[in-house]
């Protein structure tokens, strides 16, 4: 098998030039799809017969929660890639995505809490999902704090990669333990009633907003990575050419 593409991927220059045309289109497609999904969900999707209109929060809550988890998965994987193959792109990815993931986790927490008020009657219950998202948020904040306090670039790269990998290995254990703890402490009184199947007109806007948010975040992540690459590689010739000729 030819692994050349894999090693090429590690070259910041190659990555910069390849990813450059993708960021803006991904961002725009993401925005459009997200807006379509949200407006559809807000105004046109039918009302839920149990939760009334408060279920419309799902069109924000679910995509955001999915992204919060996917971003952490991606962080852990790229941390592993960095530790094993020393690929230079991986730390820029971690640095770019960690704040996005933190914002997503925060949005999931806030939307979950606000959704909880009409559904459960309180802003916060120590529900397994809420608690594990809270932990996820703390893990993101830990990565960001470590990144910001280490000034030596090489050390910061390594340290953040180690923390992401440890986090990735621990995340399933944390999730499992929180679920276990939750069933121990409270009965199944406070669960969102899961219906077997959503009707298509409820489910389709969710698909739009989820795909939209994924694209939007991908676009943002590419932009952040490109910025980080330019800042880190400012001594190399191609960066100078790039900045003087095209701007960003």
């Amino acid at each position: 098998m030819n692994w050349a593409w894999f090693h090429k991927l590690g070259s910041p220059k190659w990555f910069f030039h390849c990813s450059r045309p993708w960021a803006l289109p991904l961002f725009i497609v993401g925005c459009v799809s997200l807006v379509v999904g949200l407006i559809w969900g807000l105004a046109f999707a039918p009302e839920d017969y149990q939760q009334g209109n408060s279920f419309r929060i799902i069109y924000i809550h679910v995509p955001v929660a999915m992204l919060a988890q996917s971003c952490y998965l991606a962080l852990g994987v790229s941390g592993l890639v960095y530790l094993v193959w020393q690929m230079k792109i991986a730390p820029t990815f971690i640095k770019a995505v960690a704040p996005i993931g933190a914002v997503m986790a925060l949005m999931a927490l806030v939307s979950g809490a606000i959704w909880g008020k009409p559904t459960w009657g309180t802003w916060w219950v120590w529900d397994a999902r809420l608690t594990s998202v809270l932990m996820l948020f703390l893990l993101y904040m830990g990565i960001i704090a470590l990144q910001n306090s280490l000034t030596d670039l090489l050390l910061a790269n390594k340290a953040v990669a180690v923390l992401s990998v440890v986090g990735l290995l621990n995340l399933p254990i944390i999730k499992y333990s929180v679920e276990w703890w939750n069933t121990l402490h409270q009965g199944a009184t406070f669960t969102l009633t899961e219906k077997p199947a959503m009707p298509v007109e409820m489910w389709l806007p969710l698909l739009f907003s989820t795909i939209g948010l994924y694209c939007l975040v991908a676009g943002l992540a590419l932009w952040r990575m490109q910025t980080e690459i330019l800042a880190r590689e400012h001594r190399s010739h191609w960066v100078k050419e790039e900045v003087m000729k095209h701007g960003l």
Partner: protein, 220 residues
């Protein structure tokens, strides 16, 4: 240098820095005392909460003890010597963490009968609490050492270590206190101890390597 001489030196150093261990134990005691004073001194509150209080205090004390475990070795250059010694760095780190664990945990266990009395710990769950401490605390030390190694180059790393590491302690405290509570209710608790053991084994496999990577990156 051999592994044996490393262990000897490590024990000697720990003995000379016994004040650090002493401080961590005092801190542990202080945190335990905060609960009766700050929340409620009655037996109705303390008896069901005793295991949780002991475990919360243990988490914090372990973090206090591990946070500085590489600091002096980093400052005086002995960490670099370990790296170039030709011995396996992960194994050395494991030995170091084990020494730290023994030095902190043994006095902590000796304090337990007294604390169990002070917190009105229900009869019959004392030995389960001891068992959870013995099985669960190695994971705390191993994970805490990762945090200590990541922040060894920072002057003020203590709060950062807490922020980084406490989320990883969550499963340990959940399963440990659940085991004690299961024992109090007369339910089977061996399965929970087995989960604690599994977390310990997982940390044992991963943590030494992560500590070694972090130490190597920090000393460059």
């Amino acid at each position: 240098m051999t592994y044996l001489s490393f262990i000897k030196a490590e024990v000697l150093v720990l003995w000379r820095r016994k004040q650090n261990v002493f401080n961590a134990l005092l801190f542990f005691l202080m945190v335990v005392i905060l609960f009766p004073l700050g929340v409620n001194p009655s037996a109705e509150f303390l008896a069901p909460a005793a295991d949780g209080i002991v475990w919360c205090a243990t988490l914090l004390a372990v973090l206090m003890a591990t946070e500085s475990m590489f600091k002096e070795d980093y400052a005086d250059g002995s960490l670099e010597q370990l790296i170039i010694s030709g011995l396996s760095l992960p194994l050395l780190m494991l030995l170091k963490t084990t020494a730290q664990w023994l030095v902190v945990l043994l006095p902590l266990l000796l304090m337990m009968p007294l604390l169990a009395e002070m917190l009105y710990l229900p009869d019959g769950s004392f030995w389960v609490l001891i068992a959870t401490l013995v099985i669960g605390s190695p994971s705390l030390f191993l994970i805490g050492a990762i945090g200590a190694a990541l922040t060894v180059s920072l002057k003020q790393g203590a709060i950062l270590v807490m922020l980084l590491i406490l989320p990883f302690y969550l499963p340990v405290i959940i399963f440990a206190t659940s085991a004690v509570r299961a024992a109090q209710l007369g339910l089977p608790y061996l399965g929970l101890l087995a989960i604690l053991l599994a977390i310990f084994l997982l940390s044992l496999v991963i943590a030494p390597f992560m500590i070694a990577i972090a130490i190597k990156a920090s000393t460059n």
